[in-house]
């Protein structure tokens, strides 16, 4: 028999009530009350948890995070690019053409290009660490719980969803704290819509190319679209295949703390260093694989329509023709299934050009601004990376749900991108 049927209310609420009753009784005997003082947390929570201004305040803080991430990191990206431009020039001097091409076009053109995005990733984690260490992010979860509960969703889902901003893999593992099987499954299936750090290089490249003065806002909009789509998708699941009532959300909010410089830098470093480690392993292997596919069969022009990568892209491109994606972009999207950063890496290899400015010029000649925004949304929403698919399989223990996640996310991404192209076409 379920605990709810025996005690007449949800066990989690009953336990919390009993705990606070006990605390109250102990305090009555042990505490001498003085004049009521406002703690700093009370002062800040009055606004940050306010039902009218709590969410706008969250959106403003998130916008500030991306403004800082995008604008302040740009010169540092340039400095890293200068370093790799020097290395590329040195590699081009190697007398053996194949080795020179592998180093200059494959490793430096692909991996070197992706490493320039280490700067915005560090800046983003620095800003997010400040919010997290101050105790604010728990408040964001609490504020959104009000909306999520009205939609019949589980408030506790918001914390793993927020973790998804960093990386979807640990976020999906964090759903273990959600008790109801359906609540947990809904959260697992919606986390891939949250924009992880791996998607950041794609946004930055496209936003800087097509939306120059509004680039930071375009990047910020991806995070907002991710949250909105995740909530709507969860609602759809709740109303269809995973019907039921959400269990209540009980959270003890931590007190606000002044973040320490060392703690914040350490958190940002731990997370940012993971990107550099990934670059040294997966992305290096990806760069070599992409280079091989771009020069095979031997004798074709690197990254041309006759290369293997060109043939793959052209075979699938008609499906994406309504979105206005070229075969180069389609090829990149396919390989980005290994890791989302590979999309940027493969654009560098396929276009066979050096540096951000050249890739931007190639992109401008290849797609329209509306298709570019659709590409950002498609990258945000379509099937997550290989590691995320693996963890979905592990945590759900089901191939059926894993396949459902992959297929539904591609469908959602395609429909969302198509809607952007159709609506955007009316205005532009």
């Amino acid at each position: 028999m379920k605990a709810k049927e025996v005690i007449g209310e949800d066990a989690e609420i009953a336990l919390a009530d009993a705990r606070y009753d006990a605390i109250g009784k102990i305090l009555e005997t042990a505490l001498v009350r003085g004049e009521r003082k406002w703690a700093a947390s009370d002062i800040l929570d009055k606004v940050f948890l306010n039902k009218y201004v709590g969410i706008p305040a969250f959106l403003a803080l998130l916008w500030a995070v991306f403004q800082f991430t995008f604008e302040a990191s740009a010169p540092f990206m340039g400095l890293i690019e200068m370093l790799f431009a020097g290395l590329s020039n040195a590699a081009a001097q190697i007398p053996n053409d194949i080795i020179a091409s592998l180093l200059a076009d494959g490793i430096i053109g692909g991996l070197g290009f992706i490493l320039t995005f280490a700067a915005p990733i560090f800046f983003m984690f620095l800003a997010l660490s400040l919010l997290e260490d101050s105790g604010y992010l728990a408040r964001a979860a609490f504020v959104f719980d009000r909306i999520m509960n009205k939609l019949g969703l589980h408030g506790r889902s918001f914390i793993p969803l927020l973790l998804g901003f960093g990386c979807n893999v640990p976020a999906i593992m964090a759903t273990r704290s959600i008790e109801g099987t359906k609540d947990r499954l809904i959260t697992i299936l919606t986390i891939p819509f949250m924009s992880c750090a791996a998607r950041m290089p794609v946004y930055i490249l496209i936003a800087a190319t097509f939306f120059a003065s509004n680039a930071a806002t375009a990047v910020w909009s991806m995070y907002i679209i991710g949250i909105v789509v995740a909530i709507l998708f969860a609602l759809l699941l709740r109303r269809t295949v995973l019907k039921g009532e959400p269990s209540p959300f009980i959270v003890e909010l931590p007190t606000y703390k002044m973040p320490t410089l060392s703690g914040t830098l350490l958190h940002a470093w731990e997370r940012g260093a993971a990107f550099v480690r990934k670059a040294g392993t997966y992305l290096l292997a990806g760069a070599v694989l992409l280079w091989l596919l771009s020069v095979l069969p031997w004798g074709v022009a690197a990254g041309s329509a006759d290369s293997l990568i060109g043939q793959i892209g052209q075979a699938i491109q008609p499906v994406f023709a309504p979105l206005g994606f070229s075969w180069q972009i389609v090829s990149s999207l396919i390989f980005a299934f290994l890791a989302k950063e590979i999309l940027v890496e493969s654009l560098g290899v396929i276009y066979g050009v050096g540096g951000e400015a050249d890739i931007q010029a190639a992109l401008l000649a290849s797609i329209s601004p509306v298709s570019a925004f659709a590409l950002m949304v498609f990258t945000l929403l379509y099937v997550p990376c290989l590691a995320t698919v693996g963890i979905i399989k592990k945590e759900t223990g089901s191939w059926r749900w894993t396949l459902f996640a992959m297929v539904s996310e591609v469908l959602v991404a395609y429909l969302a991108a198509l809607a952007i192209v159709m609506v955007g076409g009316i205005f532009i």
């Binding site: 002062i43 800040l44 009218y52 706008p56 800082f68 604008e71 340039g78 400095l79 200068m82 020039n89």
Partner: protein
Amino acid sequence: MSINLKVKKRWAIYSLGLGFAYAAFGTLGILAGFSQTYGFNLVPPEVGTALIYPDAFGGIMLMIIGVIFLFGVRPQWRGAGEGASFLVVGAFLSAVFFAVYIAIMLSHAIGFAAFNIAPAPYAEIMADWAEWTWMNDLRSCIWLFAFATPSLQLALRLWKAR
């Protein structure tokens, strides 16, 4: 900490002024941003981007800060302690935006220095900052913060009285 009603009313008037200033410059930023997008300049160029920066979303963020200040006016006028929260958080948000734009200004200064120091073929990579001056990055949220700093005094008093 007890603050008498007269002082609270002063804070209320101050919140009203700050709220209107942020909301007004936010609205002008939104209008300037949209007018620029659609090819006509509602705000004449002589006004300068330091006063009104044509950025619709940046304007919305200024409006949010303004609204937070304005939410605190009535409770402060009535003498309710909670009104100070809106003033403190409004000041906190304005400080965050001030810090973000100062960081951006400093980083662009690094870009400008790198352009001038780097050897010829590589300096081109930093060409975006070739003509940078600090005036390019002066936004209304930087100088508006100067007017919001007295509210940090209240925040400090409340913080000390915890």
